[in-house]
Symmetry: C2
Subunit: 341 residues, 2 copies
Amino acid sequence: MEPVTLKQIAEELNISVATVSKALKDYPDVSKKTKALVKELAKTLNYKPNTFAVNLRTRESKTIGLVIPVIVHHFFSNVIKGIVAQAEKKGYLVIILQSNESYELEKKQIDLLLNQRVDGIMISLANGTADFSHLKQVLELGKPLVMFDKIAKIVPCSKVVIDDRKAAYLATQHLIDTGCTRIAHFRGALLPQNSIDRFLGYKKALLDNDLPYDPSLVYICECDDRSFEEGLDNAKKLLNDHDDVDGIFINTDLVAIGAMTELAKQGVAVPNDMAVVGFSNWFMSSVISPSLTTINQPGVEMGKRAFKQLYKEIKAIKKNKPINPKVITLETELIKRESTK
Amino acid sequence: MEPVTLKQIAEELNISVATVSKALKDYPDVSKKTKALVKELAKTLNYKPNTFAVNLRTRESKTIGLVIPVIVHHFFSNVIKGIVAQAEKKGYLVIILQSNESYELEKKQIDLLLNQRVDGIMISLANGTADFSHLKQVLELGKPLVMFDKIAKIVPCSKVVIDDRKAAYLATQHLIDTGCTRIAHFRGALLPQNSIDRFLGYKKALLDNDLPYDPSLVYICECDDRSFEEGLDNAKKLLNDHDDVDGIFINTDLVAIGAMTELAKQGVAVPNDMAVVGFSNWFMSSVISPSLTTINQPGVEMGKRAFKQLYKEIKAIKKNKPINPKVITLETELIKRESTK
DNA sequence: CTGAAAGCGCTTACAG
DNA sequence: CTGAAAGCGCTTACAG
């Protein structure tokens, strides 16, 4: 069944394609009578404008691209949900690509989206991304770009983030407030800004409380597909290396849950022998036992705000107005549960 | 920065647009010399074909649509991951929409995707969907359609599923084998085929083992955003209504985890006082305590297979060949853990 | 109020 | 081997 075109409607009604087009779009310079006729026929024929042709003419696709490190991930899937919902409200569709924490893939995917001529791009960076030319290219092409969560400070585009340093400080301070004096940190990968900031927040809280900062208490995890296992492994190492640690601040809930599993296995009581604070407030953190104290990170909200910003920029560009990149910082909060005293 | 067009390349080299187009696509009837010249210039100018124009000419978008009930969901996010990965391999992009378990939204979204002229559509139905005309419309337009997980038997398209009845039978049989004699069932919503099938598998296992089927032991949950709370609520009701139940087979892990939380709260020991089997093998089921016995449901694999089938059908339609709808059934397995004896 | 015309950027059947 | 021409289905500035 071939789709109906403007031409067919025009022929049927013995009027021109131009008039049909204008009638359907409610141009003021078409008579009411003609409009009514056209609209009725369009409806009975189930006319749908050919998006390909519309895109070609209007030079926009009403489609945006999203590159995300991991899809099966409590926080990121919440962000996706927020973006998709907000975009749909504004008549935009979202193409989603997973970078798998790989710089190479991420680069290719940005290229794919550019080829596709999406109206804008949203991204949370892969752990492996240290070069940002692919992102600068997006901006050079005049396409709006919004980064969220894992951002690059150096790229002059809009960003939606939380104050990772402050949140990490809060988490560590909570451990100190509840009596911990020797606190380890399972940090994220080396490159991402957010794992750097969380580390710095941890360190600052120690120093502000006159606790020594000991690098041997900092363990690294990639926080990729293997997060849970990384938690297990790091906890094992930690227990092996040190016998005086009484608290851990961990970069991500899933890693923390892995760590707590290992602690339980080795008979280390949480929170009495070892207190644990995670980050991100994954759903399962509330249902495990002991439940996990963590930092709430508003995923859906982040997705919504990021899309709203992108939308503004798309509109601005359409009107040939300059874009003013914004950094939007969302609030976080400490959620106290059973894994701390 | 305006994108480069074929015309610009043609003018620069003093040849025709047609030749440039053919050279870039390695048509055999273009001289090697011309091809080399064209390709080199295209590269230095960073030429990207305008997808809008290509789409208009070729009548395909290399884009498919996916409608999914919930994004923040262990099983579905795995399916998304599988689809997106497989599609990318074949040069297809995926537009994702969330129906939120609403028939109305689902219908609108199918329309959106049809308007967008995606090359094919994949869907897992919303709980609320009882009318299938929006899906039949897809087929009538000659667009490939593949359903997965939550399907409608009556729609003559390809489907990727598991044998829900068999899996539920297995789960219930396991409860019986480990000594349960009065087994409740927290089923899914009334309409979806998979919750009907799981219910039927449960019932059949009872009857095959000469255990009476008692409708008052069957509780319903929508399995939407509130899954966890539904588990809590249903467990509360169950404990209130009956004091002789010793096992529950539950439609989804997340509901089961809610139920176990309530059981723990009320001091009911799992598995000794009450054994529990879930469905779907969510990651958190392995890390809670006691860990949850469940049925493994291969999400990524389901996504991949569903895309592969869609791809075949897209190719077939392109060649004007008929589509032979297939039903692909994936294997499941029982994963025994601590919530059963 | 209506329509003829140009054009978006490509592809492809056809002529030479 | 190369190119002129038609056309995909729309939009919009312009003429009448």
